[in-house]
């Protein structure tokens, strides 16, 4: 589904990603973790071309992200993405947030888009809030709307960029529950997250990054039981201490 092949990226002299390669199979859930500044958010943003990269290539469902002739908008329309800060459109109701891209990008008619939007809003348990504006919802609710907004586009895979990092602790679980449900239904997912409990429960594989490199890429049992690199061992020791 997603193949990342020797991707490197730099801003001027600063190397952000170095020779990153991995893949995500259909129906697989891959968690990407690592210390801040390790390049994990940049890597996931390269997958749908939000961040350009200088070397290597990424293929999503056979389409090259790096190729100049690729229509990135067309590709992104079917790759769902959820951001750390939700990024709902604050000047629109929740209903319109869910319909906008369906109408403008997928050319669905208004009623169809609204119906589809309400269906996914119901699935994340927020059907009653359709008429409200994003500012009237809690952070956890906004993030669930953001997930519903991405799902309404019928994505072939979902990218999550630290979806719970900006949330109050008591709201993290409601978002993780939605993500878990999605994973159990067989959605292909790539998640940048520090939620190791989620990784243990839901992920098939875990990628550990440090200084722009993929240091570990293993199935989760092996990763948690026996991380090979010293850096990953330190990271896990710190993060699992509490």
């Amino acid at each position: 589904m997603i193949t990342i092949d020797k991707v490197s990226k730099h801003y001027g002299n600063f190397q952000v990603l170095t020779d990153c390669s991995t893949h995500v199979n259909k129906g697989e859930v891959v968690v990407v973790c690592g210390p801040s500044g390790s390049g994990k958010s940049t890597l996931i943003k390269c997958v749908n071309g939000l961040e350009p990269f200088q070397q290597g290539d990424i293929h999503v469902n056979g389409t090259s992200v790096g190729a100049a002739k690729t229509n990135l908008s067309k590709l992104r329309a079917h790759v769902g993405m959820v951001f750390q800060h939700f990024e709902l459109f604050p000047h629109m109701t929740i209903r319109d947030n869910l319909s906008l891209a369906q109408i403008k990008v997928l050319k669905r008619d208004k009623d169809e888009a609204a119906e589809k939007g309400i269906y996914f809003l119901d699935r994340v348990g927020l059907k009653a809030h359709a008429h409200k504006f994003p500012g009237q919802l809690s952070g956890g609710q906004q993030q669930r709307v953001a997930i519903a907004r991405a799902l309404a586009m019928d994505p072939i895979c979902m990218l999550f960029d630290e979806p719970t990092s900006a949330l109050d602790p008591e709201m993290i679980n409601e978002v993780l529950d939605v993500m878990t449900e999605l994973a159990q239904e067989g959605m292909t997912m790539m998640c940048v997250t520090h939620e190791m409990g989620f990784a243990k429960r839901v992920a098939h594989r875990v990628i550990f990054m440090d200084h722009g490199k993929i240091v570990e890429d293993d199935n989760k049992e092996a990763f948690f039981a026996n991380p090979r690199s010293e850096r990953a061992q330190q990271f896990l020791a710190k993060i699992l201490q509490h």
Partner: protein, 229 residues
């Protein structure tokens, strides 16, 4: 202080129709300059923020040029040049009255430089993540700007845009250089005709004050409501 000067306001009532027509000209120029200033200003602002360097430079040059020369000179140039241009371009007979058109074009081009800066700041006030989110949903750059970024930018800018509109309305009095009968021009003409320039200019000033003060109070009210909403 006024010595033996005796005020005589009697020439005003009879001239109200003429003055009203002048006011309409002022408002017409204001409205057109606002609309075209915002449209052209938005394009300039987007060009200035563009990653295509020549486009950004051209827009910056335009904005800096118009912001660095006095409005009255721009109007005078347009008064002298545009009529000739329109005559040859539209095939109008020589001597056609295109003063209103040339004043409007001059204003639109001048004001758009100011609007461009307001709108640029407005666009930059929208978090970058909004554009990224719109892109991530498959929207093209024009779609993302039109449906996501600009509506938020304009909402943030409304008070500034209205304030600029009030300044613009006052600036329309400068079209007197082209002897166009805007409100100020009309008042001046009446005063000149009746030898009552002092009264007419005072009257015109009072009307400008009332309209602009009322408008700025309305902006303040709107701003307060925006903050509490």
């Amino acid at each position: 202080m006024f010595g033996s000067y005796e005020f005589d306001w009697s020439s005003i009532p009879g001239s109200l129709t003429f003055l009203g027509q002048g006011l309409m000209v002022s408002l017409e120029i204001t409205a057109l300059a606002i609309v075209s200033g915002i449209v052209w200003g938005t394009l300039l602002a987007m060009a200035r923020l563009s990653s295509i360097k020549p486009l950004a430079w051209a827009a910056a040059a335009y904005v800096n040029l118009f912001r660095a020369i006095p409005l009255v000179m721009v109007l005078l140039w347009f008064f002298l040049i545009v009529p000739k241009f329109l005559e040859s371009f539209l095939g109008l007979p020589p001597g056609s009255d295109v003063r209103l058109a040339s004043a409007m074009i001059g204003f639109a081009l001048f004001e758009s430089a100011y609007y461009a800066e307001i709108i640029r700041a407005g666009i930059q006030s929208v978090p970058k993540g909004q554009l990224a989110a719109a892109h991530a949903l498959g929207m093209s750059y024009p779609q993302a700007m039109l449906h996501v970024v600009l509506p938020q930018a304009f909402r943030n800018m409304v008070p500034l845009l209205l304030t600029q509109a009030i300044i613009l309305f006052q600036d329309t009095s400068l079209v007197y250089v082209s002897a166009l009968a805007d409100f100020f021009g009309a008042a001046y003409k009446v005063g000149d005709r009746d030898g009552r320039l002092v009264e007419l200019v005072l009257f015109a000033g009072a009307v400008y004050f009332v309209l602009c003060f009322a408008a700025s109070q309305a902006v303040r009210y709107y701003q307060k409501r925006l903050q509490t909403a």
